[in-house]
């Protein structure tokens, strides 16, 4: 039983950075902007988040540093891709390259330093309940925040007028513009939200997951977050399924190796990707056919005045 609890705890920790980064990217893409720079924004968030926490001793300040750093990175993207109407794919890729270099520079002075990782919630009585106690009442703040975040985004997109307008910009920017909505301003906010989330997701790694900074420590998680958004067909509910499924299979394959089930480890390492893709594709097939992508995704919009 203790093992089950340990596995669930590890799954939640592994899934949380993916969920936070993917939530931000989902909002960005729903507004019609494809920002491939998630990995770059994450790694800069990781470097700045660690720097903030190390300098002040506060995890909260570190998280805020990560959010601000991710947002600033996304503003570079917004300036190029929205302000100057540069191709979004190229700009996003350049942002990742820039972010990896920049994070190495920022983090160089902090390599080899340690911090105390984010504290876990402890409620006497509740946290001590076997099996579910630590899972429900013993996580770090990031885990609870990530769940609140995705619920908030779902509510915003489907239950508010502002969310409807944002989706309209993503589906048909010409109509949204004709109706008098400031398409570029809305998209800029969506890009900034994506950047803030990516920065926070990056900061989660050195603040809670492995409490030190090393260049390149995001190790491709930004790309996984991007893929999750696509395979979740841009829906928050499926995104949650995808992120936790990916985390769960990642952890379970490690345990299966430890138990010695005799399946080649190379296959096991590929399993999280396979399982997530298959399940999410099946989920989107189950409903209606056709593309669910925002119709204007990745296309440049230049207002005609």
């Amino acid at each position: 039983m203790e093992l089950v609890e340990a596995i669930i705890l590890a799954v939640l920790a592994a899934s949380t950075p993916l969920l936070i980064a993917a939530t931000g990217e989902l909002v960005t893409e729903r507004s019609g902007v494809l920002n491939l720079g998630v990995e770059g924004m994450m790694i800069v968030g990781a470097a700045c988040g660690f720097a903030g926490a190390w300098l002040t001793g506060s995890i909260l300040v570190g998280a805020l540093f990560g959010i601000v750093a991710g947002t600033l990175m996304s503003l570079v993207f917004a300036l190029m891709a929205l302000g100057l109407a540069v191709n979004q794919v190229a700009t996003g890729l350049a942002l990742t390259i820039l972010g990896i270099g920049l994070s190495g520079l920022i983090g160089a002075g902090f390599v080899g330093e340690r911090i105390t990782p984010a504290a876990h919630l402890y409620i006497p009585g509740l946290t001590d309940i076997p099996l579910i106690g630590r899972v429900l009442f013993g996580e770090d703040g990031f885990v609870y925040f990530s769940i609140a975040l995705i619920v908030g985004v779902w509510w915003f997109l489907y239950r508010t007028r502002a969310g409807l307008i944002l989706r309209a910009c993503g589906d048909n920017h010409v109509s949204a513009h004709a109706l008098g909505y400031p398409v570029l301003r809305i998209r800029t906010f969506a890009v900034m939200f994506g950047g803030a989330c990516a920065g926070l997701a990056g900061a989660y790694l050195p603040l809670a997951y492995t409490p030190f900074f090393i260049p390149g420590m995001t190790a491709g998680r930004g790309w996984i977050a991007l893929a999750l958004v696509v395979f979740a067909s841009w829906r928050p509910g499926r995104l949650v399924v995808g992120a936790y499924l990916f985390g769960a299979v990642t952890i379970l394959q490690l345990h299966a190796q430890g138990w010695g089930v005799g399946i080649p480890s190379q296959f096991m390492s590929a399993l999280p990707y396979l399982a997530t893709v298959i399940v999410l594709v099946l989920l989107s097939r189950a409903r209606t056919g056709g593309s669910t992508a925002p119709a204007a995704l990745g296309t440049v919009f230049v207002p005609d005045r």
Binding site: A6, I214, G216, Q257, Q266
Partner: protein, 358 residues
């Protein structure tokens, strides 16, 4: 616009990674690194070696390094860049640079190349590596003594001979202390992903392992073991900062003496293409101080280290029995020969797990 932006980004990266080069008539020595010098592991230790070189011969030579050079075609360009900048001796420090280095070496016969951990050589291209399995053997002895549960946890990178021989050396040593010792092996299928390495360490500990050993590059596993109050071995570099009460020892890559030797030979005009595979006796690597263990275990480790250094103890002393129960042919007389160790693709008896791809 798009092009200029990419060019700008690429320019920034290059500008950031090429260290300054000036002054004439000094011998120019170049280095190609796989990771950032701040990776605290493989690349970091190569750079420590370079710094030792500069300290020793700084008045006669000048060094340049390129970091974050991906293995493959990009490497060829990076190596050529160093040649054109006037470097006469170039160290390429990762297995994947093997073919690119060879290609450039054929093109520039007057420049000398040194490739780390590979097996292809030429008139002007040497190879160098270290017998890390000797260190793994010492770790196996310590692990078996220190483990209360009798279960060791091993995080592997890729199932290549270097890693497999390390696992075998560990378990052969551990069996001399505790014949029933168990080892749980998890392959991360990456050299470097701190999050995944941490997850693997958590899984091993949750399954009962109480001594964690790794053949991946980040200090994540050490940090997790420390958090859970278990014991662990570092990798490539000193990791005690991440587990002051956790690290038992660590295999430290010490390239400095080798780099100094080779550059001295180059300066004297006696450089020859060679194949160097150095063990504890050659100072290619060292063991970090033995910490967090009782004095008798420490003494045992030091004795084993002395015996291996003196050539009295060989980790792969015959007979070696493979997992399938068959005795391995003994090509080296009293022990397996270098070729058998360099190409090791089987587990020894006592490992329950199956070797991936077998």
């Amino acid at each position: 616009m798009r092009k200029s932006l990419l060019a700008l980004a690429a320019g920034l990266l290059l500008a950031g990674s090429v260290s300054a080069a000036s002054a004439a008539d000094k011998l120019k020595v170049g280095f190609i690194y796989l990771g950032p010098i701040g990776d605290l592991g493989w690349t970091y230790q190569h750079d420590v070696g370079r710094q030792a070189l500069v300290k020793e011969l700084g008045d006669k030579i000048e060094t340049t390094y390129l970091e974050n050079v991906p293995e493959g075609p990009d490497a060829e360009r990076a190596i050529e860049q160093l040649v054109r900048a006037g470097n006469k001796l170039i160290f390429t420090t990762s297995f994947g640079y093997m073919d690119p280095t060879l290609k450039v070496a054929k093109k520039y016969p007057n420049v000398h190349f040194e490739h780390s951990t590979g097996y292809k050589r030429d008139k002007n291209m040497s190879t160098y590596s270290a017998k890390w399995y000797q260190g793994r053997y010492i770790q196996g002895l310590i692990a078996a003594k220190m483990s209360k549960s009798g279960v060791l946890g091993y995080i592997g990178s890729f199932p290549i001979p270097e890693v497999v021989s390390g696992i075998n050396a560990t378990i052969l040593a551990a069996q001399t202390i505790n014949p029933n010792i168990k080892v749980k092996i998890i392959w991360a299928n990456t050299w470097f992903d701190p999050g995944k390495e941490a997850d693997a360490a958590k899984a091993l500990i949750d399954q009962g392992a109480d001594v964690i050993m790794q053949h991946t590059d980040s200090p994540a596993a050490m940090q997790i073991a420390s958090e859970r109050g278990k014991l662990a071995f570092g990798q490539d570099s000193e990791m005690i900062k991440f587990g002051p009460k956790t690290q038992l020892t660590s295999i430290l890559d010490t390239w400095g003496p080798y780099y100094i030797d080779r550059v001295k030979a180059e300066l004297a005009g006696t450089w020859k293409s060679e194949d160097t595979w150095g063990g504890l006796d050659s100072h290619m690597f060292a063991m970090a101080p033995y910490t967090n263990m009782p004095d008798d275990v420490k003494k045992m480790a030091e004795d084993a280290q002395a015996a291996i250094t003196a050539g009295k103890l060989h980790p792969f002393k015959c007979p070696i029995v493979a997992q399938d129960g068959k005795t391995v042919e003994c090509k080296g007389g009293a022990n397996l020969d270098d070729g058998q160790i360099l190409g090791m693709n089987f587990y020894v008896k006592g490992i329950d797990d199956k070797l991936p791809g077998k």
